[in-house]
Symmetry: C2
Subunit: 134 residues, 2 copies
Amino acid sequence: MNSYSEVQIDGCTVRVVDAPRVESVRSRMPGQEDLADTAEVFGLLGDPNRLRLLLALLDGELCVCDLAAVTGQSESAVSHALRLLRAHRVVAVRRAGRMAYYRLEDAHVRMLLDLAIAHTGHTQAIHPERGGND
Amino acid sequence: MNSYSEVQIDGCTVRVVDAPRVESVRSRMPGQEDLADTAEVFGLLGDPNRLRLLLALLDGELCVCDLAAVTGQSESAVSHALRLLRAHRVVAVRRAGRMAYYRLEDAHVRMLLDLAIAHTGHTQAIHPERGGND
DNA sequence: TGCACCTCTGAATAGCTGTTCATATGTTAA
DNA sequence: TTAACATATGAACAGCTATTCAGAGGTGCA
């Protein structure tokens, strides 16, 4: 006998098993806007090429063509990616003549990257046969 | 007088500005496989609905229908999302009769979620208005 | 057994995303 | 000024993704 109950959520009747728990978790859930922002940041890190760009910037600023060389992408693709990252305040640009030097701007993102790197190192220690780079 | 040089990368001649820096960053870059894995994890967190699911699981396990109620998705959508997360070992399932209780399995992902939660809202306080640039 | 229930799955579709190509903008040097 | 240069941008296309719908397991109860 799995006692479940019916609860009103957003005007709809929904079947739930642990009603108070559901209400509690729901109340602690971040607002839709914060959630969308957070998901967007994760989404930006979810593309291998953008991730490479950001990891390359961990040590300091680099110009577009060097970023292209480091990450193995076309300069156009890099520029498009940087535009996205710039729009979300993840990177910032310093213009010097016709060069554009990009740097990591978001301290939060830097923490996420550091955490990710720390864990890939761990994976590497466990699977040394994978190698450090190509 | 922007002295740049030409470097061989993957058999292609590429124009770079700071050649030693490019080589140094390139050598520190994680391997393609690790990078893809990391990006995939971030990608999983990059969808608002999946993010909601995972945040709901921070406090402990929940069944599919309660997850649907908490996150406001259809049970089918939740099941599909959980299947993906399960395939990547981010969540694990405990079956009890016809119920399926899901829990967070990946400690790394839990850290990322905690970090994200800790920072939600702060961004708003620091940057009251977003989207002035570009 | 029959039936309601919870979850899972496959197929299909609509929407998003990242890349490329061509071109524009702005800069430096000759 | 002209030419080479560094980056930025728009359009378009291919590939991916998340949702919905319909239905298929399995499970518990009468």
